[in-house]
């Protein structure tokens, strides 16, 4: 365990579980199952067996068949492949696409790129808690709509969308439905045999798997397919080329098995930590909760205080590692566009702190975080002209 910082940024990335690391280890080095799974020789077949096993494990986690899964380099690639791939595959039927302004950049920027290329994108706004109104989505769907992309759990606020209702609507209107499940896969139950989802993205490093590997699920339904966005060897049904990284895939498979087996325990754990955190800070004057107070993913707690400056807050909180909505935390140099879309002002957004919890975080970590957050708020206020 790292002792020079307290890590509460599990929504950004999670450390790999020790059992995941073991699985990866067994695929690395001359003594491991390292060969190219596409090679037909013995070493290659051993790797192929590892890949098949991992694919089954992820399929079990998602309640689907292994044949529906495409390995990618992460949710960013899965999102790009799903959205661009489906838009292109159905471009001759229509060019209207729908998403939300609160999506991750890997979704939003893919739509923006398509918009520059002649697609027509409608952005449906969420309510003040970040939740989609299904009637607004229904109203946005047109004759020529081909794809709706709405994430499952929002990475900044923990807001959960009703993907069953969205999916049902999309099926009724013959529109594909993609969901970015980077923040929910391995954390919330997902049964794709039952859920009306056509395309789903996930990434290993959000649920104790390795960074650098993800999955795109493609439902086995008519007109549900994607065109590749990269070209090369015939791997992954010619949808995604490149040597399959056996060690990463083995790690992701193990992470899936663990998430499946320990789902209840994990959820109870992050709920307890989230509640403890909230109980420890809720009384702070001026504190606002960003996102839903009830019904969101309990592993994410986003709070803000408009009259506190975000970057100073973060420094004063060291060595507690959390994400912030301030400009200094973003490549755009702008305060969180997600919180802005929820109706928060720039000042409100820049002060936002996202605490996110996970398997390796302890109550002790939360207590330190509470102490540091309270201290930091006081410190910033003591300097500030505002209060």
């Amino acid at each position: 365990m790292n002792r020079d910082f307290v890590y509460l940024d599990y929504a950004a990335t999670t450390p790999a579980d020790p059992r995941v690391i073991d699985a990866m280890q067994s695929c690395m080095g001359a003594g491991g199952t390292f060969a190219n799974p596409a090679s037909v020789h013995i070493a290659g077949r051993k790797s192929a067996a590892i890949v098949a096993d991992a694919r089954q494990k992820v399929a079990t986690l998602l309640g689907t068949e292994p044949g529906r899964l495409i390995w990618t380099s992460g949710a960013t690639e899965s999102n790009n492949l799903a959205i661009r791939g489906a838009a292109m595959a159905r471009a001759n039927r229509g060019k209207h696409l729908i998403s939300m302004p609160t999506e991750h950049k890997a979704v939003a920027d893919t739509f923006r790129a398509l918009a520059r290329e002649g697609f027509d994108v409608t952005w449906v706004r969420p309510d003040e808690y970040g939740v989609l109104d299904i009637d607004e989505l229904a109203a946005a769907i047109r004759e020529d709509t081909q794809l709706v992309s709405v994430m499952h759990v929002n990475n900044e606020t923990g807001a959960i969308q009703d993907i069953r209702a969205i999916g049902d609507l999309c099926r009724a209107r013959d529109v594909l439905f993609h969901t970015d499940a980077a923040q929910s896969a391995g954390k919330l139950e997902l049964d794709l045999n039952d859920l009306p989802v056509d395309l789903l993205s996930l990434t290993g490093h959000k649920f104790y798997g390795p960074q650098g590997v993800g999955v795109l699920y493609i439902a086995d339904r008519p007109h549900c397919n994607v065109l590749p966005i990269m070209f090369g060897g015939g791997q992954e049904k010619r949808i995604r080329p490149g040597t399959l990284p056996a060690h990463l895939i083995a790690g992701l498979g193990t992470a899936a098995t663990l998430a499946f087996a320990e789902h209840d325990q994990d959820l109870r754990h992050v709920s307890a930590l989230g509640n403890r955190m909230w109980a420890g800070i809720a009384d702070i004057e001026g504190l606002q909760r960003n996102g839903p107070a009830e019904g969101g993913y309990p592993g994410i707690l986003n709070v803000g205080i408009a009259d506190i400056e975000g970057e100073s807050l973060m420094l004063a909180m060291e060595p507690v590692c959390v994400a912030s909505g301030s400009a200094c935390n973003s490549t755009s140099g702008e305060p969180s566009y997600v919180l802005r879309a929820l109706g928060r002002s720039d000042m409100e957004a820049q002060s936002a702190v996202r605490f996110s919890f996970g398997r390796m975080a302890s109550e002790g970590d939360i207590d330190i975080a509470i102490e540091r957050y309270r201290f930091a708020v006081d410190h910033c206020r003591s300097i500030s002209p505002v209060s």
């Binding site: 400056e309 140099g333 002209p385």
Partner: protein, 128 residues
């Protein structure tokens, strides 16, 4: 601490113990206040100075802004306190930028310090 720490030791020291944060508390013939802000990022800096016999006897700041701004204000205050009033007009940001290793993107924000001091100086000169 990794090599890529955005805050150098000086920034950390000034930010952690900003002994000049607050308001002028003593009684002075003249208490000047400058309140400047940058709308782009919401930064605001209030500097107050107690002046006596052409000397900045007490100088305090309040800042809403990033650690670099806080540190710059703290550093400047500690340099000006007990010094001649004229120095208010003489301090520029160049030395500060270097000493606090301020990222270029924050140059604009650091100008707030200069602006506040100029404003104080102008008030002092007018009052004379």
């Amino acid at each position: 601490m990794p090599a890529n720490d955005p805050y150098n030791e000086e920034v950390r020291r000034c930010f952690e113990t900003p002994v000049h944060a607050g308001d002028v508390e003593g009684e002075y013939p003249e208490v000047l206040v400058a309140d400047v802000s940058e709308s782009a990022n919401g930064s605001r800096l209030v500097v107050s100075a107690g002046v006596e016999d052409g000397i900045v006897a007490e100088i305090r700041f309040r800042a809403f802004g990033c650690p670099h701004l806080v540190a710059a204000a703290e550093l400047v205050c500690s340099e000006l306190e007990n010094g001649p009033l004229e120095r208010l007009a003489a301090i520029g940001t160049n030395g500060l930028m270097e000493r606090l290793a301020v990222p270029v993107g924050k140059t604009g924000r650091l100008f707030l310090v200069e602006d506040a001091l100029r404003l104080l100086h102008r008030q002092a000169v007018c009052a004379e």
